[in-house]
Amino acid sequence: MTRFLLRKLPSVALVIVVSSIIAFLLPRLAPGDPAAALAGADATPEQVAAIREQSGLDDPLIAQYINWITGIFRGDFGNSYIFQRPVAELVLDRLESTLELAALATVIMIVVGLTLGILSGSPRAKVSRGVLDVLNTLLLATPPFLTGLLLILVFGVTWRLLPVSGEVGLLENPEIGIQYLLLPAFALALPQAAVVARLVQTSMQNVRGEDFVDLAFAKGASPRRITYRHVLRNSLGTAVVAIGLRIGELLGGAIVIEAIFARNGLGQLAVQAVQDRDYFIIQILILGAVILAVLIQIITEIALAALDPRIRLEA
């Protein structure tokens, strides 16, 4: 595995460098000047110029880029123009909220997705499979914000069981915090769980047609053993890949979910930063997202190899 990681290193480094350049250039491509926004509506051009000078916006782009990158290695992510605070602090403040949401949603996605997938991929229980198929199709067609809105309508309007807006940190108050977390996490996880379930189901149906399943049947293995030991085991690879791919979508969806459920997470920070052209926040969030995506991909590959001895880790 060390060799696999070492071989991966150059391409990973390349991806990160390229995306850091894109993350740096993208906000600067746009018209608009954060210095002007910072100075306020009735600032004189001299004031704006002074602010530009002071925040280093007048330096050549390459110098600004190098400043930013070297700063990152020192743990200095730059200052937010709007909040007038170090970006690292701002991100850390919001990290807990998003981590809690993403973690719980991932767990729900895996549990619900695998359960639905295994149930509908099993040969027996035609009725429950029909129900699951309908459920699957419905969920597949709904984006996270719609599940979120429907959950809000059900729980906020008709059946007031859980709070539908706002948040309480899990670390501060676990009991109340989880109540605020449940709906957004489900809204975020269910559409992705449907995708995972569908993939597991098709893969299980395909594996069931293989010769070794017939052999196991001929040997007299019980249906339960066939399903779990032979079919499921060989379908898990698909499941792992599916889950790895869906986590990216899940994080993207978290931005909308945070907006709908009024949670103050990284997604909301990103949206605000885009609205205000707060360069350093946008840059670090894009870069962070790319690094996370790369990590998830590597972990997926390792998990895949661990599950299936036929697959060797090769870069």
């Binding site: 746009a30 719609l146 809000i152 309508l153 994080l251 993207g252 969806g253 931005i255 885009v274 997202a289």
Partner: protein, 289 residues
């Protein structure tokens, strides 16, 4: 008394090309019929919104955050504006985005997919770029475009157009790949027919069915992209309404007025459902031939 011969009646529907008539068959299935009726009703409502409510979508009153009633079908918003009126105008915004973005994406994507016929290298490069676009998780692509263009109608149209390109490009390329191998294409080329003519005459007609179905599917996605970006606050900006923009404000007042989001959500669902029904029916008709 009349001696002039009756003008020779042309056979009915002769003006309609056979392929159009084939697509028309999709409307005969119950799903297609329901879909098109809902779409037409919603389109009619949104087009006639300025006639029905000539005062526009920004009439404020002191009756803020009312629940739905007969005078205000969807209730009123935080400035006492009628949410039903705003929803109709919002529907108008949504339709205006769909009408521009979806056809542009279809045409552009098809052209990009067919480029491979003219130059193999260009075809491969285009595929790579489309793959990269496909790799972006849903909303992130839109946010990147808003970052460069700035929030509003234009960036929504651009975001929707770009996110549709990979699917259309792939379908066009698939048709291209399967037809280029055929003997009649080789025959046409041997006869000295130009590549462009072969593309237009033979390959495009073969690609058009799946692309049209994908077009109907993509309308649903376009509606969702608009809604998602606007809900986040990076789409249509206030006071202009769109279905997503209404939901953006509605979710902020969820505790004071839980029914605020009800109307816009229902309209959004209806619109998406109608187009998926239509896409379904179209898909069935096209595959039955």
């Amino acid at each position: 008394m009349t001696t002039t011969a009756p003008p020779s009646r042309r056979p009915r529907r002769s003006g309609v090309s056979p392929s159009l008539r084939r697509y028309g068959a999709a409307l005969k299935s119950p799903r297609g019929l329901v879909g098109i009726i809902v779409i037409l009703v919603l389109a009619l409502l949104s087009v006639s919104a300025p006639l029905l409510f000539p005062d526009g979508y920004d009439v404020q009153s002191s009756e803020s955050l009312l629940a739905p009633s007969f005078t205000h079908l969807f209730g009123t918003d935080e400035l006492g504006r009628d949410i039903f009126v705003r929803s109709l105008y919002g529907l108008r915004t949504d339709f205006s985005i769909i009408v521009v973005a979806v056809p542009v994406s279809m045409i552009l994507g098809t052209i990009l997919g067919l480029i491979g016929a003219l130059s193999r290298v260009a075809g491969t490069i285009v595929q790579r770029v489309l793959d990269i676009i496909l790799g972006f998780p849903g909303l992130v692509l839109g946010i990147c475009i808003v970052l460069v263009v700035g929030p509003g109608w234009v960036s929504l149209v651009i975001a929707i157009t770009i996110s549709g390109l990979p699917a259309f490009g792939r379908l066009a390329r698939a048709a291209l790949m399967s037809q280029m191998q055929r003997e009649y294409v080789t025959a046409a080329e041997t006869l000295g027919v130009s590549r462009l003519t072969v593309l237009g005459r033979h390959i495009l007609p073969n690609a058009i069915d799946p692309i049209l179905v994908q077009g109907a599917v993509f309308v649903v996605q376009a509606i969702f992209i608009e809604a998602a970006l606007s809900i986040v606050g990076l789409g249509i900006q206030p006071p202009q309404p769109s279905l997503g923009a209404l939901l953006n404000v509605g979710t902020r007042f969820i505790n004071q007025a839980p029914t605020y989001i009800l109307g816009p959500t229902v309209l959004l669902l209806l619109l998406a459902l109608a187009f998926s029904l239509l896409a379904d029916a179209l898909n069935e008709t096209v595959n039955r031939k």
